[in-house]
Structures are given as C-alpha cells and as structure tokens.
C-alpha cells in the first residue's frame, strides 16, 4: 500500500460541505446503516450486530487498541434494569486533537455509530463525556444531537421501531485522568475523577452500578461503515491486524501539521516527509512521539520501515496510542521536553495511589534538577529507580504513562541527559 494513500478517499471525515447538517448527512447515505438494522431485525439482531463489529476488529482508537465488538460482547444479558453506553471524548492525551474534528465536521457519523452500539448492547441511555475545554465543540455536537432527535433517530420508538434510546452530552472541567474509563464514570456521577479498582469491570458494574461500556468517539464513528459495507470490506483497509481508517493528528516541527485521515498502518516516514511536507525550515528529524505523550519516543534512526499500527510500533518499542504524532526536529532539547511531560503527569496525577502521587513529583523534581544543570549522572539511575517503583503498582495506568517517556528517553537519548549532568568523579573505595 506504499502509494495508495494518494488516492485514498476519507471515510470518517470526507470533504463534503456542511456535512454536520443532518440533511446533508442523510443525502450522503447517512443513517442508512441504522435504518437497515431497524428494517431487518432478523438479519440484524443485537447479537449479529455485535458479531459483525467483532469480526471487523475495530481496535479502540482511544489508545488501548482493544477490539470494540469484543468489548461489547462482555455486556451481560439484559435484566430489565438500565444499562449505559459512555462515549469517551475526553481527548486529553498531549499530542491528540482528532475527536474534535468529528464533532465539528461529521458529528452524525459518530451519533449513528453510538446509536447502533446502543442497539447492539441494548442500552437505555448514551452519555457523551467531552473535556470541558472543548466547550465550543460540545455545543456543535449538542446541535447535531438535537437534529437527530427531531428526525427521530434518537428518543422513543426510533423510526417506528420498538427501540428507544436517549443521548446526552456531559462536559468535564479540566482533568486528564477523566479519559481513563473508570475515572470518566466517577466524573459522570458528579465526583472527583478517581479511577476505580478493577474488577468489577464496567460491563459488570459501571455507571450507577449498572452494566456500562465505554468507547472512544473515533471508534464509534467506524461502526456505521462496518454495518453498511460489512466486516470483510472493512478489513481490506489497512493492515490485517489493525484494520480501518485512522485519524492521524500530526503536530510539532512539520510543514503542514493537522489531522489527516488515512488507513491504519501508514509508513511513518511517508507521513512525515510526504503527507505533512517534511520537517519545517529544512531541518533534520530527531525523534517522534508516535501516539500521544505517554507512548515511548523513538529516535529518527529507529523509524525506517515502521508503520502506524499496533504490531509494527510494538516491535520497535513504542505504541500506537491515539495516533497523535509529535514530530521533533534536530534542535529539540529532549531533556527539556521530557521534563515538561513530567510536569504534565505530576499536575494530572489524581493523588489516589502513593506511587503515582509521589513518583510523578519525584520525576518532575529530578528532571528539573538535571534540566537546570544541577543534576549528576547518578540522578539518571534515580529516575529509573522511581520508574521501577511506579510501573504496574497503581490502580490505573497514569503512573505507567508518566514513567514510560522518562525510562525510554534515558535509554534512547542518554547522551543528551548525560551532557546536562555535572561531571562528578567519585572515589573508588
């Protein structure tokens, strides 16, 4: 697929004027997937919808990359009491700015996907959690939801069927941790966003103690096309193990930063050199953060032949994350960069688990010391020791997300860290 990208026609956010208007969306086959489900309930029983989506292997676009249909199948049998779908539009991972494009340019695609998910899992209400900073986009989505209610795609007896579902937006108020699914539920319940201990998993005990599934916005936007064209069609896009279109949010030192839609598995150097027009000011590439601040940075010399999909990135020692790629040129001070990332994680640690609350502070302090020229070589070992005491020892993955960039940067850019340290000579006993 080396050059296929040039002829690729976007599926999630096609270039159609005013697509956010429901009439334009309908004219372009919008809500047809939902209608076909509701008009042929035998073919499209909830179980069959889940099977099709599972088969399509839409890997969660929020960072974890888990098969969305498989996640849906964890919901228990309906028992007549409420069940919920929570849509995760918290989008707070530094380097990530893709879901807001869906709210702005193609909100009905996401709404349709969420309604289909609600049908498949037989839930009663959909809550869309959006970070508070995205207030203008919350209004845009709310307008689209209001239009969908007017046309009876939401509400009671949708399109004359016996299927009913409500959809609400819920605005956060500035907390990165609320993108973690259990913290998101706490926040939706009106509390401080402290992640919950798992198990029980959300499908067992989620919002208000009831079965709940949490999906990313972009993940749900993939659902209507899977229903319309089938799982086998979906799997022809991108790599076998990570199919479908992806919104690549590319920022940093490139000539044309922005959100681009291409199949998963794009060659990283193609994205940097051709799609975004190369490094600005004719500089050389130094490093790439491939999928948001928590994914380990890669040196330029590690990127040859690497593609943007879970397997290829794992092999080279990083992760797909949110596909929020931060491109860094040769002038980038990696120590300064990693220090600033550590400031972020210290600020955003919820404070519930000691290894994270204390560890993120220690990382920040120690990196600040090195960054300001007061560090010693042994402080690098201290940083790694702190990472060891954080990773895998907390309720949620924020501690890991804070430790990885530090650990892998010291490994991959060690000379830069050492250069900033004082040259201290210790007597050998």
């Amino acid at each position: 697929m080396s050059n296929d990208w040039k002829s690729y026609q976007p599926l999630l956010i096609p270039a159609i004027r005013d697509l956010h208007e429901i009439s334009v969306y309908e004219k372009n086959d919008g809500y047809q997937a939902l209608k076909s489900i509701l008009s042929d309930r035998k073919k499209w029983s909830p179980e069959n919808v889940i099977e099709e989506v599972k088969d399509a292997n839409i890997r969660g676009r929020g960072g974890a990359g888990f098969n969305a249909g498989l996640k849906w199948s964890f919901m228990p049998e309906p028992d007549g009491k409420p069940r919920y779908l929570a849509c995760n539009g918290d989008e707070s991972e530094p380097g990530t700015f893709k879901d807001r494009k869906i709210f702005e340019y193609n909100p009905h695609l996401f709404i349709e996907g969420a309604i289909i998910a609600a049908y498949a899992m037989q839930v009663d209400a959909i809550y869309v959690y959006i970070r508070g900073e995205y207030r203008p986009w919350v209004h845009k989505l709310q307008q689209a939801i209001d239009q969908a209610y007017e046309k009876n795609y939401l509400g009671k007896n949708i399109q004359g069927s016996d299927f009913s579902v409500e959809m609400y937006t819920h605005m956060g108020a500035g907390a990165y941790i609320c993108g973690e699914e259990s913290s998101l539920m706490e926040s939706l319940e009106g509390k401080r966003g402290y992640p919950r201990v798992k198990p029980p998993f959300p499908a067992q005990r989620g919002l208000w103690g009831r079965p709940t599934t949490i999906n990313n916005i972009e993940t749900l936007a993939n659902v209507p096309m899977v229903i319309k064209n089938g799982a086998s069609w979906f799997k022809t896009i991108g790599p076998d193990t990570h199919p479908g279109p992806v919104l690549y949010g590319i920022s940093g030192h490139v000539n044309r930063p922005g959100v681009y839609e291409y199949p998963a598995g794009m060659n990283i150097m193609t994205l940097i050199n051709e799609v975004t027009g190369g490094i600005r000011n004719g500089k050389k590439l130094k490093a790439l953060i491939p999928g948001g601040s928590s994914t380990p940075p890669l040196r330029a010399d590690m990127l040859d032949g690497v593609t943007m999909d879970a397997d290829s990135l794992r092999e080279v020692g990083s992760m797909m994350g949110t596909a929020g790629m931060v491109v860094l040129d040769e002038d980038t001070d990696m120590v300064d960069l990693i220090w600033r990332i550590s400031v972020f994680y210290h600020h955003e640690s919820c404070g519930q688990c000691t290894p994270c609350r204390e560890g993120t502070g220690w990382l920040e302090k120690t990196l600040h010391k090195i960054n300001s020229g007061d560090g010693e070589i042994r402080d690098l070992d201290l940083l790694l020791a702190i990472c060891n005491r954080m990773e895998g020892r907390t309720i949620c993955a924020l501690a890991d997300a804070a430790a990885w960039p530090v650990r892998y940067s010291i490994d991959r850019f060690r000379d830069e860290f050492e250069k900033k340290c004082k040259k201290t000579v210790y007597a050998v006993a």
Binding site: R135, G190, R192, G193, G252, V326, F344
Partner: protein, 181 residues
C-alpha cells in the same frame, strides 16, 4: 456572604432540567457548577455553598469537586482569562515565548490578574489543539490558534474593546487541497 449569590426561579428551572438528564442528582454536580460559574464568574466558597444548598448535597462534596477540576475557578478571576498552552507540541512550537510575551505585555506573571481586573494569565496543560500550536483559550471558551505576537496584540485590543474572538475552524489539510464537493 452567601446571600450575595442567589439562583432566581429561571435558574432553578434550568438546574431542574439539568438534573433530569441523570438517574441520580449527584451526577448533575459538574453541569450545575458550570452553570453557576457562567452566572457568577467563579465557584468560590460562597458559590459552592449555594450549589450545595440548592442541590441538597454536602458542601464538602462540592468543594472536593471544585478543587479537583482545573477549569472551576476557586476565586474570582480577571474578566478575560487567557489560558496559554505550554505542553508538548505547544512547548516545542513556542508556547513559552507566547506566554512570556503576554506576561511582559500585561505586566503580570502566569497565575496572576492585572490590577484593573481585566486579564488573568495561566500556563495550562494540553488543550487538544496540537497541530495549531502555539495557542491559547479565552475564558474557558474559544481557541485562538497559531499565535504570533501580532495576533496576541490584536486579541488583547479586541478583548479590551469588548470584542470576543470568533470560532476558528481549523480545516483538515486534505480538505483544503482536495475537492470540496
């Protein structure tokens, strides 16, 4: 103090509507705090008390929520709050230069408010506009992208003249280059 801040009948009706979106009223704490902050400009202890009494939820819980989320102002802020992103992409694309330029221009440091109460500046974490760095957000609302000194100058002049920034639609590069049907 608490009688300084009150909800009128229209507010109470709105709050009732917000609560109706959820199976339990506590879930409405964040949206009701947003509603209160929109009305009063902040959620200091008096506003927290008002929200607690209105919703019949312990004040300690409301206080806990307000202090957890960075967008709720625990004290009155300037009329215009300029949240300058300095995180990751904004850091490497000149976010700190913009922050320092604004500090110099307004004569205050990040975290402070001008003596006339017009402007507050804050250095904030990633706002999700990484491709349009450096950028800032004005009082929890519109984003101003691709900041330059000239753009900052104009923004501050506009705000002083009572003109709020428009929503900037940041197009997808594929759309700009491709055909717009």
């Amino acid at each position: 103090m608490s009688d300084t801040y009150t909800f009128d009948t229209k507010d109470l009706k709105e709050i009732e509507n917000i609560i109706a979106k959820y199976p339990e009223k506590q879930a409405a704490v964040l949206p009701v705090l947003w509603y209160a902050q929109d009305k009063f400009g902040h959620t200091d202890s008096s506003v927290q008390k008002l929200v607690a009494e209105t919703m019949d939820i312990p004040e300690a819980h409301i206080h806990g929520v307000v202090t957890f989320y960075t967008q709720f102002y625990e004290k009155p802020m300037g009329k215009h709050v300029l949240d300058v992103c300095t995180c990751l992409s904004c850091q490497v694309c000149g976010g700190y230069d913009m922050l320092h330029y604004m500090e110099e221009k307004l004569g205050i440091k990040a975290g402070e408010t001008t003596p006339d109460g017009q402007f507050s500046i804050q250095s904030v974490e990633c706002l999700g506009a990484c491709g349009y760095a450096p950028m800032l957000q004005v009082t929890n609302d519109k984003y101003v992208n691709h900041l330059t000194r000239e753009k900052v100058d104009k923004l501050i002049e506009d705000l002083k003249a009572g003109k709020k920034p428009e929503f900037e639609s940041m197009k997808m590069p594929q759309h700009v280059n491709g055909s717009d049907k």
